[in-house]
């Protein structure tokens, strides 16, 4: 009994000593954000008392201000609209391609897969000027359509790569059995392969959505009016750069999309790693 306790401490102690403080350090900004979000303005502008805890009553005034006095709900709606459209386009293009690349054996499949993946590495900071040129020529400036058109440029390569990894884990025998039973290839795809890939597809949906929320350069360059912004740029351009930053409301604005996304992210992380590293880097 005592033996096992001693062994437990000896084995787990160093892990706690390393992981504990580092985890707290990494999560610290979120602690500050949460506590600021619920503090009265007089409280977080008070240098006499500790900023680590409440000195006055917690309040929902910051959230109230955000929803009543700023275009935040517009930004949320815009973000969801863009996200849904981008995810739909991404799935239509990436699911068939990811499957085909996973099943194409030999050199061509491998090179094509790696080639598509490398396009994911071409960053927005390299493409935003030519795309700005194209968007202007098409008269799509300041429209959400511009973002829907451009965002798949990074969600598609990324999703193809992830899906390729997932499809490789589905045994070929399963498909062969369906084929032997007389099902056509297309039917095998829709009835056998896609249903068991739903977890993988869900992972792609979440991570594509997360890429959309993370995107800053395109949204910042293409959208100029407050009403058409997404959350990622609206909070910065309208709330921070405004006359007097309302820090409490800014923190609420930042936390509302972050927390659900972080929970989903954590839930799907293992699948993400399997897909991400499972393509060619196995």
């Amino acid at each position: 009994m005592i033996d096992s306790l001693v062994r437990g401490v000896r084995e787990q102690g160093p892990a706690y000593l390393i992981v504990g403080p580092l985890a707290m350090l990494l999560a610290f900004p979120f602690y500050v954000m949460v506590i600021t979000a619920f503090k009265q303005q007089r409280d977080f502008y008070d240098l006499q008392h500790t900023p680590y805890w409440f000195h006055k009553h917690p309040t929902l005034d910051n959230a109230r201000f955000l929803f009543n006095e700023t275009p935040y709900t517009h930004w949320l709606r815009n973000t969801v609209l863009v996200g849904l459209a981008v995810v739909a386009i991404t799935l239509v293009i990436a699911v068939p391609a990811g499957y085909a690349l996973a099943r194409l054996s030999g050199r061509i499949g491998q090179s094509l897969g790696v080639g598509i993946f490398l396009t994911y590495l071409v960053p927005p900071t390299l493409l935003f000027l030519p795309l700005f040129y194209v968007i202007s020529k098409l008269h799509l400036q300041n429209q959400l359509t511009a973002l829907v058109l451009v965002y798949p440029s990074f969600t598609v390569p990324f999703s193809i790569w992830l899906l390729m990894g997932f499809f490789k884990t589905i045994p070929q025998e399963l498909e062969d059995a369906a084929l032997v039973d007389g099902a056509s290839r297309l039917k095998t795809l829709t009835r056998v392969v896609f249903p068991i890939s739903i977890p993988g597809i869900l992972t792609v949906v979440i991570f594509s959505f997360s890429l959309v929320l993370n995107e800053f350069v395109y949204a910042f360059t293409f959208i100029s009016s407050s009403a058409n912004r997404t959350v990622s740029t609206g909070v910065y351009t309208d709330l921070i750069r405004g006359d007097l930053p309302q820090w409490g409301s800014i923190m609420v604005a930042a936390l509302i999309p972050s927390i659900p996304l972080a929970l989903l992210y954590n839930t799907f992380l293992d699948r993400f790693i399997a897909g991400f590293t499972g393509g060619a880097f196995r």
Binding site: F30, M33, L121, D176, V180, S184
Partner: protein, 311 residues
């Protein structure tokens, strides 16, 4: 598999074509290839074309000016500084990432109570949308109400008379953006390292134990070499995500603080030239200087992909 599809009776021509794996595959892949060609390949070529013109954001039209944009930036002090800052920013932040993520991954490999929660906390910087979590950092770096300054002053680390102004002093600003960038990448590198460590077969561990290899010795001669390939991948990604992303620097310091613009990067300089000053051609030329970095990373990945194929 080939034999099965050939043995079946031939149906209508179209249906037969669908049964040929090669045809079906190209049918499934071609939309993606066309799409990526149009949205990545096309703009990339357009960026190269624009960089040889004096196109502006206002009129869009531009005349061919040859290498003028490149020549001008090459001799521009602001651009040279931006290249150097990008280098320092990338190298230092990635060193920090390797150090912390390496430690975290090794510690997280063990089973222990509360691991789920700790993993969640570690993942937060990567899982939360960066432009939003940077709002938290902007507040934490506030000139007057910074929690970091308050803490430092109460620990008697900082002076009360002239406290640090995080984003307004050149060295502090550089350090701040490096720290925040590392903070952002650490969770990603940790999970990739962890995947690499977890893929080391149990037998290798057992064999090492029998041979009497423990602790640091085991880490140096067994874990490290086996982990190196996947650590390289994490590092290559980290380099791309750092050198080519402008969100952290743009939101926190906007390339400042003036007058020296100590945190100006290739990316922010390209943005300022191309969008804020409206010189599309000049901005395109600047951002094309990111290509060598990308090329090195791409070659690194290809070499790595081939190596795993062989083994």
């Amino acid at each position: 598999m080939e034999a099965v599809s050939q043995a079946r009776p031939r149906g209508r021509r179209w249906q037969h074509a669908l049964e040929r794996p090669g045809f079906l595959a190209s049918l499934l892949i071609s939309p993606a290839v066309i799409f990526i060609g149009a949205l990545v390949g096309g703009p990339l070529l357009l960026a190269i074309y624009l960089s040889f013109t004096n196109a502006t954001a206002g009129s869009l039209g531009g005349k061919w000016v040859g290498l003028e944009n490149f020549r001008r930036e090459w001799h521009n002090q602001a651009f040279q500084d931006a290249v150097w800052h990008t280098f320092v920013f990338t190298v230092l932040s990635q060193l920090l990432v390797l150090l912390v993520a390496g430690m975290l991954a090794h510690a997280l490999l063990k089973r222990f109570r509360g691991k789920w929660l700790l993993r969640f906390l570690i993942l937060l910087p990567w899982a939360a949308p960066l432009p939003l979590s940077l709002m938290g950092w902007t507040w934490m770096f506030d000139t007057t109400y910074s929690i970091l300054t308050w803490t430092g002053q109460h620990l008697h680390l900082f002076s009360k008379v002239s406290p640090p102004v995080w984003l307004a002093q050149p060295r502090l600003a550089t350090g701040s953006v490096i720290a925040v960038q590392a903070w952002r990448i650490i969770p990603f590198a940790t999970v990739i390292f962890l995947a690499g460590l977890a893929s080391i077969p149990k037998e290798v561990d057992d064999a090492a134990a029998i041979d009497g290899a423990t602790g640091f010795r085991k880490f140096l001669s067994i874990s490290l070499p086996l982990q190196l390939p996947i650590a390289t991948v994490a590092l290559l990604f980290g380099i791309v995500f750092t050198a080519t992303d402008m969100a952290v620097v743009y939101i926190l310091t906007n390339g400042g603080p003036p007058p020296s613009d100590a945190t100006e990067q290739i990316t922010t300089w390209a943005f300022k030239t191309g969008i804020e000053s409206g010189s599309l051609g000049g901005g395109a030329a600047i951002s094309l200087f990111l290509l060598p970095i990308l090329a090195v990373v791409a070659i690194g990945m290809l070499v790595f992909a081939r190596r795993t194929e062989v083994t």
